[in-house]
Symmetry: C2
Subunit: 209 residues, 2 copies
DNA sequence: GTATCAATGCGAGACGTCTCGTCTTTCATC
DNA sequence: GATGAAAGACGAGACGTCTCGCATTGATAC
């Protein structure tokens, strides 16, 4: 039984110091040159304390990012997703915020690192997707569902596909650096997607589909 | 002058063996655990032969992928992009092929590894994008341009955005593993995008889709 | 034409260095 | 007196350089 140390005795102080150090360091040196030794040194903890509680540096960073997105939620007062009744405006607002996050080095570095690590490590990728990504996608989907209920979107809309059509192209441009990110870009994206799925501003409209 | 070995004396046999070994190994152990020593051993070449011609293991893998996509072009007889006059069908065809490639382990592993490595290593990422990605995106863009010229798409269509709307969501689902890939998925994607940009099959069409 | 020879890439692997993850020791806390 | 934590010693393994013969090449001499 080499496993499972007693979690109740765990030092919260050390935990936080480790997560903070990981976030800082990944921004300074990048993911590839991020070492557990450096995290331990910066956090003022022994290496073993990290190895005791996390299986890999990727896992540390995942926890760190989770706490980071937790903070963001509290700061921004994000209980959910804006719902002004104007779907187009709401989507543009959220995507603009996402663009801003991608452009914020503090957020960009760890997220990029995790995305990359998750792409090649199926285990980590699954946790990354389930714990960080899916909850966000679910917010989009919920907002879209209210639009369906309001008759602004066809009842048979593939919401999952629609969410990925909103998030996918932006994420693609960000990850691959094929072009600079801009608010105008996501605004145009929203317009094309909404038109593509048959969005109607107010009344049920007689046309198409 | 320690630089510039004589390229005319280079062993083509060794070059191919190295690229093949790199592709095989990256599928077996993943990018992170891929070592130049292992590539050399598998290829039956000396380490120095790799270090003489490539600056890093990432560069080896990039060359290997380039040769792989080169093969794919020859096999499929891809001189360009299908152009049957039916834009929707052509896009669906190409995206279905892309789905098949993503599902092919031989292609998936190295591409995934490179994408991930490129995401965190800006240098490599730039070369990856320029040499592998952009040429493919350019094929899409060219096909779309002929559609514009044929009056099937509005003259002011943002082709770049449109290409990313086609490729982005698929790549996203592939990388993040948020859902299984399927032909039906990309078919639906094409339909929404085309409707969103105002695609008309033949004549200017009056109806709302 | 063929024999010789210097130049250069190649396969093999030894070498010193670096960083990894584990193990050991000592102290603090419950 | 257990157990976690800080510090660092330790072996493992990959790095990139190097040194060796061997094979191939192109130039020169006969």
């Amino acid at each position: 039984m080499s496993k499972s140390p007693d979690a109740t005795r765990r030092s919260e102080r050390s935990r936080r110091a480790i997560l903070d150090a990981a976030l800082t360091l990944v921004g300074e040196v990048g993911y590839n040159k991020l070492t557990i030794e450096a995290i331990a040194a910066r956090a003022g903890v022994g290496k073993q304390t990290i190895y005791r509680w996390w299986p890999s540096k990727a896992a540390v960073l995942l926890d760190a990012s989770l706490s980071l997105s937790g903070e963001a939620v509290e700061e921004g007062g994000w209980t959910g997703f804006p719902d002004t009744g104007d779907l187009a405006a709401d989507l543009k607002t959220v995507l603009r915020i996402t663009v801003d996050q991608f452009l914020d080095e503090r957020y960009d570095a760890p997220t990029r690192a995790l995305t990359a690590a998750g792409a090649t490590d199926p285990d980590l990728g699954t946790r990354f997707t389930e714990q960080l990504l899916e909850p966000q996608l679910a917010l989009y989907e919920a907002r879209l569902r209210t639009a369906v209920d309001a008759g602004q979107l066809p009842a048979d809309t593939d919401l999952r596909l629609m969410v990925e059509m909103l998030v996918g192209p932006l994420t693609y441009r960000w990850l691959m650096r094929t072009a600079p990110l801009a608010h105008a870009h996501t605004d145009a994206l929203v317009d094309v997607v909404l038109r593509g799925v048959g969005y109607v501003t107010t009344r049920p409209a007689a046309a198409g589909a």
